[in-house]
Symmetry: D2
Subunit: 362 residues, 4 copies
């Protein structure tokens, strides 16, 4: 109800502000009996953490997760998994000047209108720092999906106007290797170089730029999702739209598909070696809200982040028109760090539907 939980069977609830002592979460409904790979969890956290490269914010957080329940002898027990991350580099004083000013395109004003108060130390609950919790829960979900041979992989497909081409024949292993080989997480090396150079320029100007993340889920069985409100892509869409800075979501043919004719767009079925497939995949692996066994794929749009270091006109809490000149650290382009977050949210949704689907037949 109050919007700090996601999922039905595999359910994540999070808490914590960007400048409090801890952020953390509770995973309820994790199946018992999974041997956890803690290094893999930390690896995903490291892929998200600030300060990891020259194209991200300089805020330094070691982002070490501490599990406090739900795990015994390295295995999940079926009881709620509680976890904590200590906030270390919370420079609250950087925000001192902002105490009474509503930063443009931030959540300051709306948060204040909703709750009648505001945490001036950096966005409070609206900070993208909350997404570290999602990465932890998502990393556990990915391990369960891997047990069922389902793989989730995301990458940056565009930064500003610079978009990449991807070799569709690449295996997930090769794709993952090249994506993680460059700091923008783009699977096309030549484009990656251009993106990095562009972000560095933007950063020098104290400006920011948006981008897009592409995600593929392979190995999902047919039958996940539901025909009406809880369509698989509707839940994926909500999960993605709940990530900070996201402005759009499309799956399969997406917005381009609206320009096609049905005779071009329809995915013909074919039986090959006793197994049914579709020749094309404009459906994005989902038909009528339910997975069909083909690759599920979608794209997520991220706006340029609102923190920029140039002067901006705005209003303070007293209602006066004022000029804001932000100081401190900023993240010129969040999409490289968003990659593990998109993967995490995708894994949460797919796992939730995988578990839900166990209840459908007699």
């Amino acid at each position: 109800m109050s919007g700090n939980s996601i999922g039905q069977v595999f359910k994540l609830t999070t808490f914590g502000e960007s400048h409090g002592p801890f952020i953390g979460g509770v995973i309820d409904g994790c199946p018992s009996g999974l041997k956890l790979d803690f290094d893999a969890i930390q690896h995903d956290l490291d892929r998200r953490k600030p300060g990891q490269s020259k194209v991200t914010t300089a805020r330094k957080e070691s982002d070490i997760v501490e599990f406090v329940s739900g795990i015994y002898d390295g295995h999940t027990t079926g009881t709620p998994i509680g976890f904590l991350i200590k906030n270390k580099d919370a420079k609250s004083k950087d925000y001192g000047d902002l105490e009474n000013v509503f930063r443009p395109s931030h959540a300051d004003y709306t948060y204040h209108q909703k709750y009648g108060n505001r945490d001036h130390r950096g966005g409070g609950r609206s900070s993208a720092r909350e997404t570290a919790n999602r990465v932890i829960a998502g990393a556990i979900a990915k391990q369960i999906l891997a047990y069922y041979k389902i793989d989730v992989i995301a990458y940056v497909c565009a930064v500003g106007n610079i978009a990449c081409n991807v070799d569709k024949e690449m295996s997930n292993e090769s794709l993952r290797a090249v994506v993680e080989s460059n700091i923008v997480r783009c699977p096309d090396e030549a484009t990656a170089v251009k993106m990095i150079s562009f972000i560095e320029d933007i950063k020098k100007n104290g400006d920011s730029v948006g981008g897009q993340v592409f995600c593929t889920i392979s190995g999902a069985p047919a039958g996940l999702g539901a025909p009406v409100y809880d369509r698989l892509h509707a839940d994926l869409g909500k999960a993605m739209l709940s990530i900070n800075a996201v402005k759009g979501f499309e799956y399969g043919s997406g917005f381009e598909g609206t320009k096609m004719l049905g005779s071009q767009h329809n995915d013909e079925f074919v039986t090959e070696k006793g197994s049914l497939h579709t020749k094309s995949n404009h459906s994005g692996g989902i038909q009528g809200g339910i997975s069909n066994g083909e690759d599920i794929y979608f794209k997520v749009a991220f706006k340029p982040v609102a923190t920029i270091l140039s002067s901006q006109n705005t209003v303070n809490e007293a209602g006066d028109n004022v000029v804001l000149k932000a100081k401190g650290r900023h993240d010129p382009c969040v999409v490289p760090r968003a990659v593990p977050i998109v993967e995490a949210m995708a894994a949460l949704v797919i796992l939730d539907h995988l578990l839900l689907n166990r209840t459908v037949k007699l």
Copy 2:
């Protein structure tokens, strides 16, 4: 859980298949004391119903709603509103040939995989006929929103490659008048003519085409939504993605916004006549997941519908490769009929958040 409900406080649950005796729904959580305008409800149903013009399917349904509970003396009582629509023109025999064939890009195969059975009479629960229920609930939600001076208006902004321009200064009343004056529900008369002509051509060929619907919510107060998972736009996105044939959702600057710099994209605050506003509205009326009092706007992508009248290769339940030649009726372009559905889903989400927001402060 099983995905036939939407909303938390104002909650719609629906039932019924396209070829059963009735479809219907239950609205739980409708506030008591609203005098209902039944004509307005029927008007929205008429805007959605099949057979309304030469650019829609020829299926004829009178789509008269019967309310069976929750209303006394013309007013809502606070108890669940149950309602029914009789299915009249369910030509089940049109589907006889399809009994064992999976229609390309329909839900036949996925539905069969999920439930282990299939309603061969026209999509069963996957049929867009279910959306008539949404229009009823949405029409009631719109009346409550109107009581609070909140207005929801949608229109067709693109059919295939034909996109329209809209005069931004038009009042909602004028906009509504022009939108309803043509059968494609496009607010630009000249473009509407082109769209209609294009759809007629498509229809002759037994083909279909996609399109886009634009929606604006004006008058919503600041404070609706939540900062983490239940962001206002995430719930709007899920609601839209749950409509049949939808492939994408974007709000505010959307996918185009990913190409902008933060210095271009940020919406500066300004105080005018004692009231705070933003100069631009790339945020789409939502910042940090919470409404800021500006117009909320978004765009929804609809694929070309899967029913086309040409021959297609496909597979039957036995796994044989077969050729399908569909007969019967088809809808060459659903977006004109989707307009009231988009409005309905938007109204459901906004009203739900409006009611939820009453619980936030002491």
Copy 3:
């Protein structure tokens, strides 16, 4: 949220007032593939319906259920099961005098305070007529439980001060036969005669009396329930307390168990023929909120119904002290008719936990 649904996976939502055209419901999450026994459903409805014997109300309702969705060729499809019951003998004029009077110990006053309106035609949504819906959903749940060899059986164990003894060795079949052989549904013939005679006396005086219903669930596997909030007995308790006129719930040793010592109360485990059992069953088949494989049993307390035919002091809507002399029909003792309702609610809870339990392990 608004309280007209029960269950998580197998979820019933109901609608309809006692004097509207229909009551009805939607079952979402019913597993697909069950061949329904419609006679069994009607049989349970008949066990609940008014006018079935001289010890119940004279209101006559045929209570024929019409299913409108979710069933195809006699089998459940996995989609929502919508159903309707027509209200026939709704003598609204009997209630004319009551229009402005709050009947003592009825829901008139509280309903009016909550919703700001009131359906004067007989309790509206507060009427026990709503429970017919529960019996339908429960009858379907019982059929699924029977498929898994789980049996639910209830009977009247007390009317006023008259309590019965039950032969603990009786099979469920024998127990069911004797319970249904008399109009108070008491498994002890001699006591049944006394109960009937007592109720007839009470009825002559226009008075009412309470009673208790005992229920046993046999064949449930170990593992249903959860260790914290959703304990199996907590969900059973809530379900029973949601039935009209219920004032208390106890399971296993119940209130008497509070007087015992741990050394008397503990149920020792023993292995017999390779299978683990408990020697005694003070636990009522549930330990730590989770079923242990023994019989689950509990008792439900029903107050005397509030409608009596003598003069009572009360207050009208204007706040005046007035005297109320009820006319019309009344139910001197509801417990015989409550038996199928208790069974239905028990079946809903057990089935919901049975389905939920499928998601617990890897």
Copy 4:
């Protein structure tokens, strides 16, 4: 779904095992703007904590709560309140002998059957240690209720066969003073002495005994609750039945009420000084599932706890019949410590319905 949350608007989710590093919880939906009295929270924790008197277990826990989010400058912010309690005196070795033995009437066996694993260090998630979290959330809920002039007070009304009389005319302040003046929390001094003496005898024998807790909620407005599934007393009942060792719940006239006639049981309405009241209160302040403005009261039955220090026959994980002789600490009678838990759960339910009730009218 997985049963570690309670509440709809004001929602508590807990995590943590009795022998892990921490237990803790998240409160989602706490209204913003409440100045917290931290001493009052700690006071309730102290009333629940082990080792507080000679009639409770000797386990020593300082039970200091650490809040990590949702509070700023001493006030609630509207964001989730995360909190932790460190486990200090977790003598895991006391449980070494029990590793393979199912303790009679404990959750060992059922937990093992459900999850396929077991935390041998003291019950894991099934331990009543979890209830410390409830007391924290309940203490916050009580402060919000106090703001609205609603008061919750509970006490021990029976230990084994020893029941107490209470002076009905006592003010809540006087009642609270006398309840807290003795270590069994009984409001009748003379009875308290007998109870203490009885528990001391029981303790010497390594045995345990059950008891009953009585709770009153005064000041609740008319209108809380709902007429069908989410009746106020049904939610109170579920909350109470979710407390460890609870076997029964009754409100108002309860099980005794089943023996009364309607003419005796009905609560006549009367207007006094312009305000409506009932002369008697067999309804327990709730009619048709909705509060009527009178005192809400109910009784909760606690069984004797299962840990006793005498020899018991049981079975081990291998299925062998064995004899168990427990060592270590035990709690001869939990009801004195259960008093703040009952109050907490009552406060959670009442507050949740108070917030829900804000959404009911236009």
